[in-house]
């Protein structure tokens, strides 16, 4: 770029210098904007999710509340409410309801909820995004009048308490994520119970015992480095072949005397995720152990402690905050993993809570996937609500990790 223009090899032309600075300025802006585009993408992503999770809905009642009772439900006694349920619902449906909780034990609010769900049966026939709800209000009401004359428009926040505590349903307005949240929690618990002890032991071996001159130790280290980069779906295939198929008696609970369950169980899913996060976990723990100063170990040896005594009472306690941060990050990875669980056989149509590690399972990312791929708009709405739940839990985990790291760094400086 710098051509020699005179004998010294320097170009003293101020215009040339000016041009160089100008190119520099342009590129500075380009570098900045590529960073800004990344941040913008994050913001657009979040906005587009929130946009889908709130908005107007058109609700059609299968039965008019006025025709059921002329008095508002809130003013009726429990006995009258039960009477309404008995008149309007078939015996079979009443039985399924009573199996969960007898009607007589329910409070007034629960009964009203039952009536509005099962008898009035409000159905969301159309939904709009937040953006449309704010800027195209008239268009929406005109459209509803034209195509759904019986429907009423109301503003709906799809992410509400009912959504969190309900189980799966084929109707989006009645669907909830309770089963999925419990499934996700159990999977993460199993994954951590598997990966935590093995991960820490491996990290201790590689950092404290293994001599890098031995080829086996180098091989283990390289292998762990490579395992981090293997696509998660491959782990899913491994889980399918090993946990679901080969170890089927174990993962379906047959070994423990439980019959008739599929080996596509929470245990299989959790172990697969455990294998997936293990290499990442080991690398994090290794880093934490490496950060413990050498002097600490030497002082302990100097006092006559053995290697294991040194590790147990000096190295590990100092490395705990780092290991903890690493494991929180591993958990946040485990919560969001979808592909391996699909391969291992997560199902989506599960309406009852997981009762043991051997029951079939679903997880938060799995139902997000399932709802996203459905054509109706309302499933998009609940998918976005579930995504918000997922992202909030991930962000709080990450915030916790950052807080721990900063807290630990500060206390170490103060020492």
């Amino acid at each position: 770029m710098i051509d020699s223009k005179n004998q010294n090899g320097f170009n003293h032309d101020p215009k040339f210098m000016h041009a160089r600075l100008k190119t520099g300025k342009i590129w500075h802006r380009l570098f900045f904007s590529s960073t800004a585009i990344g941040i913008m993408a994050l913001i657009i992503l979040l906005i587009s999710i929130i946009n889908q999770s709130l908005g107007f809905v058109a609700v059609e009642n299968i039965k008019d509340p006025q025709s059921i009772s002329t008095i508002p439900f809130e003013q009726l006694s429990n006995q009258q409410l039960i009477e309404i349920l008995k008149i309007n619902l078939s015996e079979n449906r009443l039985k399924t309801i009573e199996r969960e909780k007898p009607l007589l034990e329910m409070g007034q609010s629960e009964l009203i909820k039952l009536i509005t769900e099962k008898v009035v049966d409000a159905k969301v026939v159309a939904s709009w995004t937040l953006w449309q709800s704010i800027f195209e209000k008239e268009k929406i009401s005109a459209l509803v009048e034209a195509s759904y004359p019986n429907a009423q428009i109301s503003f709906r926040n799809w992410l509400n308490w009912d959504f969190l505590v309900r189980s799966f349903s084929s109707r989006p307005e009645l669907a909830g994520i309770r089963v999925a949240i419990k499934g996700s929690l159990l999977i993460v618990l199993i994954a951590i119970a598997f990966a935590f002890p093995i991960g820490i032991s491996s990290a201790i071996y590689l950092e404290e015992y293994a001599h890098p001159s031995k080829w086996l130790n180098r091989f283990i280290q390289t292998n762990i480095d490579n395992l981090v980069g293997i696509p998660s779906i491959i782990y899913g295939i491994l889980g399918l072949a090993v946990f679901v198929r080969t170890l089927a008696p174990l993962t379906s609970g047959e070994v423990f005397g439980i019959q008739g369950l599929s080996s596509r169980s929470i245990l299989s899913g959790g172990l697969t995720i455990g294998l997936l996060i293990l290499p990442m976990f080991i690398l994090n723990a290794q880093e934490a152990i490496r950060a413990v100063p050498k002097s600490l170990r030497q002082a302990s040896y100097g006092l006559g402690a053995t290697k294991w005594q040194t590790i147990r009472s000096h190295v590990l306690p100092s490395a705990v905050p780092g290991i903890l941060t690493g494991s929180i990050l591993a958990v946040s990875r485990a919560i969001g993993e979808t592909a391996p669980l699909i391969v291992v056989g997560a199902s989506t149509y599960i309406t009852s809570d997981p009762s043991s590690p051997f029951s079939g399972f679903t997880a938060l990312p799995i139902i997000i996937y399932n709802w996203t791929t459905r054509p109706q708009d309302q499933f998009r709405n609940i998918a976005s609500a579930a995504i918000i739940v997922l992202l909030i839990s991930l962000l709080s985990l990450n915030a916790l990790a950052i807080f721990l790291r900063n807290h630990y760094n500060q206390t170490r400086v103060n020492l």
């Binding site: 990344g38 002890p197 696509p231 779906i233 293990l278 990312p365």
Partner: protein, 311 residues
Amino acid sequence: MKKSQISPNQKSSLFIKKHYRGEFIIQAIFFLCAALSIFTTLGIAYELIKESLLFFRTPGVSIIEFLTTTTWQPTIGQYGVLPLLTATLITSFFALLIAIPLGLGAAIFLSEYSYPSTRKIIKPLLEILAGVPTVVYGYFALTFMTPLLRSLLGADNVQIYNMLSAGLVMGIMILPLFSSMSEDALNAVPSSLREAAFALGSTKFETSTMIVVPSALSGIVAAFIVSVSRAIGETMIVAIASGSGSAFTFNPLKAAETMTGYIARISGGDISYNTPDYNSIFAIGLLLFIFTYILNLVSRRFSKKYREVYE
């Protein structure tokens, strides 16, 4: 009176012996845990190869047909992996087209231009972007990127499921990974090199692009290769946004299933063991495993190089 007494010397040697046995057992346990990772790799390789062999032994399926023909229709016994492979390559190409220039720009900005205070805000934001689960990106591709592309390029030209949308969103997903790895490489370049360049009269831009980036090149190449491997192995975005059903096409505006998308779709349904369908996901998985493992090995080589030079 005879006293059976152990001299203090003997006592301590017994103590040490006992302890050494304990020490040895503990070390052995730790070693076994560490060796488990080798079994993971071996397990992956064993299962993939075993089931792939079963697949290639199915009548009407041969490795040559698998690698060279262009129709993937398991229902009529056509097993040519090329359409799945091209779809994977096309989505990855668009992902890298977005992620590499933007990621490199962001890395140079963060390491060479930005103030520490700016970096303190931007880096965590990029980390959040990197931590978003891929299924969420898939949702984003289908509900935001696809409608956007359809309104920009015309709904007649762009199919509802298309490779372009999946690729672009995958690029956004890979961007923070590439930029943070490249930034590490740029940061590892000693400041003496920059100072020397400034002393010779270079501008900041010239220092960055002609001194710092070439010095960190092996690290940046390593980041690039890791990004390629990530793009090839990415599943959820393509499973949601790129369509199901294989198609041999080079038009990114059309739907085509990728290798990972196929594995996810087939294994997600009710699948019975020992059918060509079931075995075929292992054959494709093996191909995927070989690609990504080689890419990771190569990337390690490159990143080792810059670490050896500067650290």
